[in-house]
Amino acid sequence: MCLIAFAQRGCLNLFAVIALAGPPCLVGQVSEGNPPADLAIKNATVMTVTHGTIDHATVWIHNGKIAGVGTSVDSPASATVVDANGKYVTPGIIDPHSHSALGDDVNEATSPVTPSMMMIDAFDNTDKALYQALAGGVTTELLLHGSANMIGGQAVVIKNKFGLSRDQMLFPNAPRSIKFASGENPKRVYGRRNELPSTRMGNFEVMRQAFEDAKAYMASWDAYNTKVAAGDKEAVAPKKDLKLEALADVLRGKMYVQIHCYRADEFLTEEAIAKEYGYKVRAFHHALEMYKVGDKIAPTGTGIATFADWWGFKDEAWDAIPWNAVMSMREGVRVALKSDSNDYVRRLNQEAGKMIQYGGATEEEALKMITLNAAWIIGVDDRVGSIDVGKDADIVIWNADPLSTYARAEKVYVDGDLFFDSSLPGLGTTHFHGVMHDAGFSGADDEVGDGQ
């Protein structure tokens, strides 16, 4: 029970208990020194995402939060000043679809329905992929189960405080997300074992059956609770079932549903099933054919997390076009870009830059796809994803326009603390001094790590 109900909030509570009980000796890497209470990044070109780009601006950070932004910010005289003359400043980049730091544990490909898998149980915080992403300006990632299963596992949301402990890297109080999949991967994984599903018909029927099972489970608990409420001392509690509890939480609307889905017809089927069972789809991931039905999906409020220009690697990616993101956006869909890759996560800014080429996005629209809209998909857009007063001070200083080919992340702050500085010798990390793991490159991909 607690395994499901806790999600990552529970783990933070656990950490708090340990911290109260004694020194946090379980923590592997300890941050040296506290970040300054006040930090002022001055003279920068600040791309706020929500209220335009401001030249010669200051970003004032106070106790890990953004306390002021603009050309007339009164940061205190005691503030540590970073002169960013000629530099660009953006919010930290957010990747709403990653399998980094999960090693070979991306897919529990032994059943098409595995909703009680908790990705946090596989999270390896010393994976070099996190470091390399940090050096690319990435400060928040949604680490998802793979796409072997129609209903996969529950995601973990991290802040890329590379060098800190597993618990310290969790995004505090982030909503719970669960990964669903559809299309070729589930049918291939199970079909070649001559198991259900081996077709799209089978795929969706497996899902419907799972929700029927969950409804029956919920009904049995409702009946039991009704009896208890009526004073029935003979009532026998139904057996707790981790898998059905998780599905029940989907039906109760307690989890964001993130669906791996490529084809236009499947977006429509998924939305119809969600409507039938009364849950909401948060986002379609990959979503390479959204441009075909964006006008129909837009009213549902479902977003997408898509590739900039990937195509043709499989049949269901054959109709992918690089104009998908911008066309879908113009059709009214909330669009984010994502990596699904330990490689592309390092240069999501360039992937966003391509949106200017393919469809003529503005710089702000393009940047929003890898910041605020990505944050919305994860459900943390009230905390990160733009440079606004009150938000977490997750900030990147770039040498050049971040949407150009020539941009390098020079300094990356998370919660106002400097985690990466390219001017430092060695790795450029400020908190990491240990030995990195290689949690796996090939396995960290929906397409490769599907249980083959």
């Binding site: 043709g312 391509k354 150009s404 060695g426």
Partner: protein, 446 residues
């Protein structure tokens, strides 16, 4: 009178061409009439060989560049179609030093793949020209981003994978697009060639790098013996039947004689060293390829005096390496005088992203002009096209690109591509899908 076409009129031009030949709107050219004279005026020319010319003119006729220079001193023929490239950048078509174009369509669909024979590691008698699918949907997608020439190579899972072909990315059929067959021998020396742990099991030789190296040496020794045998049999006093022709060993002979280059793939420093030892033993003419994790032997690589196609700069650094160890490799090699080229392999392997790898290397220290050269003139020279491709020079094949900005920047859109002096239709299966569904976007805007 000049027929003047502004950039806004490009679509109109394509339309007018399509009236003369309907198939012009599709990806393949079935029009056999030669292109007329075309002049691109007003653009910023990146010539590669003689600097940048603001407000320059390029004139193309009969498939060749016939004039390049500043507007003030370059004559525009009266009968020329004019492309007004004011505010635009004009540069030579890009040359991708290694692709799988025409060997694969949908990667996950085995039936569409002719990438590599894995039944044996020594396959020099495989000719990619025999499998090259000129009508691949991928070719128009790549050329719309300014890629006009490419090397097509088999995948790299064999020690000797086969013989590459050079292609032009436009033409009516494979004969027109294959500009040189069997241009180079594709060789590889890295761990991925080993059949360890594969479905075949591990009992078949070779399962180690020692095995791979000895197998390569034996293949070249066998070819040398074969040649000696053939030469002996060719003598007038030879008695008996001539030996049976061996296609496999025969295929190695031009490379043993140094007549053509061997494209030698090796990823890590020690692999490069072993591969180069073998190459020296047999006096092979080498282009190093896939060099990625060789930061420890940069000076040694420079001392080989061979050109290098750098490995994917997007390859992940090793856990012990700084995040930019691979990004900066092209700059480190170029600094040491090595002639470098990029290929589009790595990343998603999408050919159209070739210029962005070069641009990213600029962010990590490679001089801009060298980056541009590494996707134009350098690969052209490496493969023997220095006189015909890779720069805006009189006499060269008229492969020219007009874009609305810096070709290495991800934000730049290519507006028109010319191949063999022809304004190609800016149409691919992807633009067709875009245009088919664009009304949904337009309706929303209204």
């Amino acid at each position: 009178m000049n027929q003047r076409v502004t950039l806004a009129g490009f679509l109109w031009l394509c339309f007018s061409l399509s009236q003369t030949s309907l198939a012009q709107t599709g990806p393949n050219n079935t029009d056999t009439t030669p292109a007329g004279t075309i002049a691109i005026i007003g653009g910023k020319l990146l010539t590669i060989t003689h600097g940048t010319i603001e407000n320059g003119v390029v004139v193309m006729s009969a498939g060749k560049i016939i004039a390049v220079g500043p507007a003030a001193s370059t004559n525009v023929p009266k009968d020329a179609h004019i492309f007004d490239a004011k505010g635009m950048t004009v540069y030579p078509g890009l040359f991708d030093a290694e692709t799988r174009l025409g060997l694969t369509e949908v990667e996950a669909d085995a039936n569409s793949n002719d990438l590599i024979e894995t039944s044996d590691e020594i396959m020099p008698h495989m000719h990619v020209a025999d499998a090259f699918h000129a009508e691949s949907v991928r070719i128009p997608v790549a050329r719309l981003n300014g890629i006009t020439n490419a090397i097509v190579a088999p995948a790299s899972e064999d020690s000797i994978a086969g013989q590459d072909a050079a292609i032009q990315l436009y033409g009516r059929d494979r004969d027109a697009m294959l500009i040189r067959r069997d241009i180079a021998l594709a060789m590889n020396f890295d761990g991925s060639v080993r059949r360890k742990g594969s479905d075949d099991g591990s009992s078949k030789f070779p399962t180690t790098r020692m095995g791979l190296a000895s197998q390569i040496r034996q293949a070249f020794l066998d070819a040398q013996s074969y040649e000696a045998e053939m030469q002996a049999a060719a003598k007038p006093d030879h008695k008996g039947n001539p030996p049976k022709r061996d296609l496999k060993l025969e295929a190695l002979l031009p490379y043993l004689k140094g007549e053509k280059p061997v494209v030698l793939g090796a990823t890590e420093g020690y692999e490069v060293e072993v591969a180069m030892e073998i190459a020296k033993e047999f006096k092979l003419k080498v282009i190093l390829n896939h060099v990625t994790h060789a930061q420890n032997i940069l000076d040694e690589i420079a001392s080989y005096h061979v050109p290098v196609i750098v490995g994917p700069i997007y390859d992940a650094p090793l856990p012990s390496e700084r995040y930019d160890a691979v990004y900066s490799l092209p700059a480190e090699l170029q600094k040491r005088g090595v002639k470098i080229a990029f290929s589009s392999l790595g990343g998603s392997g999408d050919n159209r992203n070739l210029p962005y790898a070069a641009g990213y290397s600029v962010a990590y220290g490679l001089p801009y002009d060298e980056a541009l050269k590494a996707i134009t003139l350098n690969p052209a020279e490496m493969f023997g096209f220095g006189d015909s491709l890779g720069s805006l020079d009189v006499g060269k094949t008229a492969n020219v690109v007009i874009a609305n900005g810096d070709p290495l920047d991800v934000r730049t859109s290519v507006k028109q591509v010319f191949i063999n002096g022809e304004a190609i239709p800016m149409v691919s299966r992807q633009t067709q899908l875009r245009d088919q569904y664009m009304p949904l976007t337009d309706n929303k805007k209204n």
